[in-house]
């Protein structure tokens, strides 16, 4: 019988700790599939973040090194400058990349480090229990914005792709989502493109992924997926934000 669907080799055979409906497991799988398909698993080095996805190293069967909270792009810079032939990518959440690690991300992008950032935006701090993130939407209630985010006090959500797009050395920035089969396929395409650009040594690449966090959004998984389409994607428009062809 022909096998049409199987566990990617780069994904370990262990149960994941993620909550039901969480986007991380989908994104892990996409990355693992791509590493297999592109034959990159023995060249890849991943820097997972502080947050729920720190345990990515139990799931992805590749070389991994932990980074302090927010510093993944700096660590990835150090790695890539030494291991120039390897595929180096960081996997970061919105708090990690757009709050505590903004300087590191911005400057790695500005230097045009030949790395890829997988930026998972779920609009909250997931692991610590759903506090307000830099990407929390205006009016969105979290444990630290109980009355909803107030743009006048807390500022509007930060759009990372748009922010980085003004920097000359960013070559590929795309925003995708993992809330539907069609969007999941687009996410895979986007990450693939980012990895390809990295191998062509063009510059800094980042894929922002809108990802559901049903637990902290206080929604069921189905509603969470709808919420991404109906609310989140209005603030964070999907699509290629910047692509410098070469």
């Amino acid at each position: 019988m022909k096998k049409v669907y199987t566990r990617p080799k780069s994904l370990r055979k262990v149960p994941m700790h993620y909550c039901p409906g969480c986007g991380h497991s989908i994104i892990h799988r996409i990355i693992a599939e791509l590493l297999d398909e592109m034959k990159l698993s023995d060249k890849a080095i991943c820097v997972p973040p502080a947050g729920c996805a720190v345990l990515a190293y139990y799931y992805l069967d590749i070389d991994m090194v932990e980074a302090p909270h927010g510093r993944a792009t700096a660590v990835a810079t150090g790695i890539k400058r030494v291991q120039i032939k390897n595929l180096v990518f960081s996997y970061q959440g919105d708090g990690d990349l757009a709050a505590i690690g903004t300087a590191e991300a911005l400057h790695a992008a500005n230097r045009g480090e030949r790395i890829t950032v997988i930026f998972v935006n779920n609009a909250v701090y997931g692991m610590t229990g759903g506090q307000m993130a830099p990407t929390t939407l205006v009016g969105q209630k979290t444990t630290t914005s109980p009355a909803g985010r107030d743009a006048k006090k807390e500022g509007p959500p930060i759009k990372v792709c748009e922010l980085l797009s003004g920097l000359n050395n960013t070559t590929y920035l795309e925003r995708v989502a993992v809330n539907s089969p069609a969007n999941i396929r687009k996410t895979k395409k986007a990450i693939k493109k980012a990895f390809e650009y990295q191998q062509k040594k063009t510059g800094f690449t980042l894929v922002e992924i809108l990802s559901p966090c049903p637990t902290n959004w206080r929604m069921d998984p189905v509603r969470s997926c709808k919420w991404i389409d109906e609310v989140m994607a209005k603030e964070f428009p999907l699509g290629v934000i910047k692509e410098t062809k070469c």
């Binding site: 060249k43 080095i45 300087a103």
Partner: protein, 354 residues
């Protein structure tokens, strides 16, 4: 050669190919030197990072990739690096960190000081760990100890700090730079992509408490090995001394001058000196041995008194400990120090006669 340049050249000779830093006085000549020097080294990487945080994390990345990597800064900048120094200790990654200490707390000033002793020898960041701290006393030693620091870092897979001060960094002295290493040690833990081997994981997160405890004790065993094998100190006129000065770095140089001056003025004065070269591990055993004969110790530091605690711990109340400290970036002259030393020396003698 300038002290900071000697550090830079010794690092290059030791096989350092990666330097990451951020400007701060009084150590800017070191990143400047590395910027031009690493451009001539095959595979050399120099990045002026956006912050101290970024630079030490780039060191982490380069280190986990197998390169000999280094960063440098001065006191406030070293404070910023502490988080990742703790990670390096926990992940057991080698790194060399140079601290050209200035007066503090806060921004303080840019004058030579020794006020970072606590921070350096007590770990500095969060968690149960130690950092090997080397305290050079001359430009020659700046070079020698930088060279040694890379070997120690690799041998024990641990961060090593070279701690000088603005004085040692800025003075010029003749120096013999140690010769280039032919072969660097193989590393079986580094990340290169899992080609032909199982994937590797370097981390410090250990959620299981029993496992974390095991890891903590494993680090302690390593620190004990370092204490046994790597404790370094220098004695000066210790024979028949009845008072022993304890001082390191620039302070030890001034103390040497003061002792010579006093001995010249009065032959009956028998003051010697012990100069800790490793601040951690501290030369406790040597002090205990000396303490069996000598009852008076005179600690001199360019701070309000930090190393003096380690001297007290070593001697356990069995000797009398005198202290003279000059914080704030003040560098006393040998004559000033000699006056204080003589006062303590004669007072002790009188007391003992009574």
């Amino acid at each position: 050669m300038y002290g900071t340049h000697a550090i830079g050249e010794a690092a290059i000779q030791a096989g350092c190919t990666c330097y990451f830093g951020y400007p701060i006085t009084p150590q800017n000549e070191l990143p400047e030197y590395m910027a031009s020097r690493l451009a001539q080294v095959p595979g050399g990487v120099f990045i002026q990072a956006e912050s101290e945080l970024a630079s030490i994390n780039m060191v982490l990345g380069a280190s986990v990739s197998g390169a000999r990597a280094m960063t440098s800064s001065s006191s406030p900048g070293i404070s910023l690096k502490q988080e990742t120094i703790s990670f390096l200790a926990g992940m057991e990654l080698p790194a060399v960190i140079v601290n050209i200490v200035r007066g503090g707390p806060g921004l303080g000033n840019i004058a030579p000081a020794q006020s970072d002793y606590f921070q350096a020898t007590r770990g500095g960041g969060h968690g149960d760990y130690r950092v090997v701290v080397l305290a050079p006393g001359s430009v020659q030693e700046m070079a020698d100890m930088t060279f040694l620091a890379f070997d120690l870092a690799d041998r024990y897979r641990t961060p090593v700090m070279v701690m000088g001060d603005g004085m040692l960094g800025q003075i010029m002295e003749p120096v013999n730079i140690p010769k280039k290493k032919k072969k660097l040690p193989d590393k079986d833990y580094i990340l290169t992509g899992a080609k032909g081997r199982p994937p590797r994981l370097i981390k410090s997160l250990i959620l299981d408490t029993k496992e974390m405890e095991d890891h903590n004790w494993k680090l302690v065993r390593k620190y004990e090995r370092i204490s046994q094998n790597e404790t370094r100190w220098e004695g000066f006129l210790l024979d028949e001394a009845d008072m022993v000065v304890v001082a390191y770095g620039t302070a030890a140089r001034i103390a040497k001058g003061a002792i010579k001056r006093l001995r010249r003025e009065d032959e009956r004065i028998r003051i010697g000196m012990i100069r800790p070269i490793t601040l951690w591990p501290f030369p406790t055993k040597a002090l205990v041995e000396i303490g069996q004969k000598v009852k008076d110790f005179f600690v001199f530091e360019m701070s309000t008194g930090q190393m003096v605690d380690d001297v007290r711990l070593a001697l356990e109340g069995k000797s009398f400990i005198h202290f003279y400290g000059r914080p704030g970036g003040v560098v006393p002259t040998p004559a000033e120090l000699a006056r204080s030393m003589a006062r303590h020396y004669y007072q002790s003698k009188r007391k003992r006669r009574k």
